[in-house]
């Protein structure tokens, strides 16, 4: 399942709707400290169903909603869409025959959450299961290497490093 587009709205520092088209090959994301690059990585992981605020550098799940700035009020909700092409029909049932898959996650300040696949309401678990076994589930942990994670692997105890091998098993 190739990643085709990342669409971020109200998530962390992305107050306005922002889209990144992901081409084949190598894409570089650059910019000064604190401008939002790692927030894009967080958006991808969150949309794929990450449930750990700490994994996203927050303390509560609400921390991912745009919290305002000097001149902007906080947003009422956060939304991330990930669009995948499914040309090779590698998506699991019941999504197998769809040419494209759009994963949507929303979190409202009220605490309500919404998950959609191609506009259809689903459960969080459906989103998480979509990625299991494809190598990019948030549990897999070897295809998305967040900032500082290399240092963690370096200084990990042998027992912790075992987990990396287990994930690939």
């Amino acid at each position: 399942m190739k990643l085709r587009r990342i669409d971020i709205f109200g998530f962390k520092s992305f107050r306005e709707r922002t889209a990144l088209d992901v081409s084949d090959g190598v894409t570089a994301v650059v910019g000064p400290n604190g401008c939002g690059k790692s927030n894009i990585v967080d958006a991808i992981r969150w949309a794929m169903g990450s449930q750990s605020p700490k994994d996203l550098r927050g303390r509560a799940m609400e921390d991912v909603i745009f919290g305002g700035s000097e001149r902007n009020r906080p947003a009422g909700y956060a939304e991330v869409n990930l669009v995948f092409s499914n040309e090779l029909r590698t998506a699991p049932a019941p999504w197998r025959e769809l040419p494209e898959l759009r994963v949507t996650r929303r979190l409202f300040r009220t605490g309500d959450s919404e998950y959609e696949l191609n506009g259809q309401r689903v459960r969080l678990r459906d989103v998480q299961e979509l990625f299991l076994g494809t190598g990019v589930s948030v549990q897999d942990g070897y295809s998305i290497i967040e900032q500082g994670r290399v240092g963690f692997i370096v200084s990990a105890r042998p027992e912790e490093r075992r987990a990396l091998i287990e994930e690939a098993a």
Partner: protein, 165 residues
């Protein structure tokens, strides 16, 4: 299961031994089980010999050498179980010019089968990319993205991005 772990360990080790000298321009390394007779609980150790140096545990290595070794391990796992896309956030930060170049070359090679998204401050890594996105915060606290595409004849020139290293 115990056998699954054992065979996965073997497979990752084989690839790790191949990737290490590619990134270090020589030398060798291998994975080791801390408890080879207790596969259900054994940890995984990394034994390393940078080119021309002696065999040692990872602890005495330099910051850059440790990072590059970890990258070799990540790529070994990735090569065994490729995922459709991979996101690497500033893994090149502690690397010197030579090592960044070898890292970038390897990513380009692996990108023929998988999409790679690299967050970076490094010019050499940027040069390896076919597509470049600049993230800015002209309005404090509010992120904006500007796209610059390299590998197409119609490459639009965007505003200057922070290509600072």
């Amino acid at each position: 299961s115990r056998d699954l772990f054992a065979s996965t360990f073997e497979e990752v080790d084989t690839r790790f031994r191949a990737f290490f000298p590619r990134l270090f321009r020589g030398g060798r390394a291998r994975l080791e089980l801390t408890q080879p007779d207790n596969l259900l609980e054994s940890g995984v150790e990394i034994v390393v010999q940078p080119p021309g140096k002696r065999l040692q545990s990872m602890t005495l290595l330099s910051g850059g050498e440790k990072a590059l070794t970890a990258v070799a391990l990540i790529f070994a796992i990735f090569d065994l179980r490729p995922s459709p896309f991979s996101v690497l956030d500033e893994v090149d930060a502690p690397l010197d010019e030579g090592n960044v170049g070898r890292f970038a070359d390897l990513v380009v090679e692996m990108s023929s089968h998988s999409q790679f998204i690299l967050i970076t401050h490094n010019k050499r890594t940027m040069e390896a990319a076919g597509t470049l996105y600049g993230v800015t915060m002209e309005e404090p606290g509010v992120s904006k993205v500007v796209g610059v595409r390299f590998d197409h004849a119609d490459a639009e020139s965007g505003p200057e991005v922070d290509a600072d290293r």
